[in-house]
């Protein structure tokens, strides 16, 4: 693949796309881990959501 005399501009554009997309994927993945960890910690402490508690059998 010959990118011609403006190869640096083409590569910079594609590199930016890779960085931005990787950043977005990293953001949602790390955020999911953080939220699940916090939920797990709270549940381990015995905290229950009101709606979840209401569904518990009496």
């Amino acid at each position: 693949m010959n990118l011609g005399p403006h190869a640096a501009f083409i590569l910079a554009a594609y590199a930016a796309a890779v960085v931005v997309i990787a950043g977005l994927i990293g953001w949602v993945t790390l955020d999911l881990r953080a939220q699940r960890r916090q939920l797990g910690d709270l549940e381990a402490d015995g905290v229950t959501r009101r709606s979840a508690a209401l569904k518990e059998p009496a």
């Binding site: 990118l3 011609g4 403006h6 501009f9 910079a12 930016a16 931005v20 950043g23 955020d31 959501r49």
Partner: protein, 244 residues
């Protein structure tokens, strides 16, 4: 399951859990086809040479930047008019993704502009109106982070989003209304696309791949936002219990 059933956050979480693997697989598959088409099948442009390859990421990014604002506007109506339980979740989750694609549109446009126009930036109507959209995205994200109560933040952000929607037709028609350095519409226009099929097909393939990526990221970000709100309500319950 009817679409309206997803309005329940728990049902949406179940849907996201089941849909994510399929969405990821479809996105990877679409990118494999799109990138193969864009990098190895599409010919160089007779005037622009290989720089036309920048178009395959610039145009989908521009489309997603605008599509995302449109989606947030519909969600904002859901927040203000119907008080839909997932509307402001959808809007809040979409804003960083829309900002990222708008940034990518501006950056790749700059990389394309330097060799073709002789400048990285020009204060013309199209470029400036897209920059305004990017700044408004940042403003929305800042607003969400400033107001602690999600429902209050949601209503304020919804108003700002609907005001910002005025910018969408300005972006779209700026190349027709004003004399700009940016080329006029060449894909979505009344007379049909002016781009040759050999370049148009890879462009559509990349646009589908980027759109699937957006949907995957948005569903994942909405799931995270629902979990964040659960954490918040549980922390408040815990604080109340500890306070007596």
């Amino acid at each position: 399951m009817a679409l309206i059933d997803l309005a329940n956050p728990t049902r949406f979480l179940n849907f996201a859990e089941r849909a994510m693997p399929w969405l990821i697989a479809a996105t990877v598959f679409a990118f494999a086809i799109g990138l193969a088409q864009a990098l190895f099948v599409a010919p160089d442009d007779y005037q622009q040479g290989a720089t036309v390859k920048i178009m395959f990421i610039h145009v989908p990014s521009a489309w997603l930047g605008m599509f995302c604002w449109g989606l947030m506007s519909v969600a904002s109506l859901g927040t203000l008019v119907w008080r839909h339980p997932l509307a402001d979740v959808a809007a809040k989750a979409a804003a960083p993704i829309g900002a990222a694609f708008t940034f990518l549109c501006l950056f790749t446009g700059s990389m394309w502009g330097r060799p073709m126009w002789g400048t990285y930036w020009e204060w013309d109507a199209r470029l400036t109106s897209v920059l305004v959209m990017f700044i408004m995205y940042l403003g929305l994200i800042a607003l969400w982070r400033t107001v602690e109560d999600p429902s209050r933040a949601g209503r304020a952000a919804a108003v700002l989003t609907l005001v910002g929607a005025i910018n969408l037709p300005i972006i779209k028609f700026s190349v027709d209304w004003w004399n700009t350095l940016h080329q006029p519409a060449s894909v979505f226009r009344l007379g049909g696309p002016t781009i040759d099929k050999s370049i148009l097909v890879p462009l559509f393939a990349m646009t589908i791949a980027f759109t699937l990526l957006f949907v995957s990221l948005h569903v994942a970000a909405m799931r995270n936002e629902i979990l964040r709100r659960r954490v918040r309500s549980m922390l408040m319950l815990q604080a109340r219990a500890q306070g007596g």
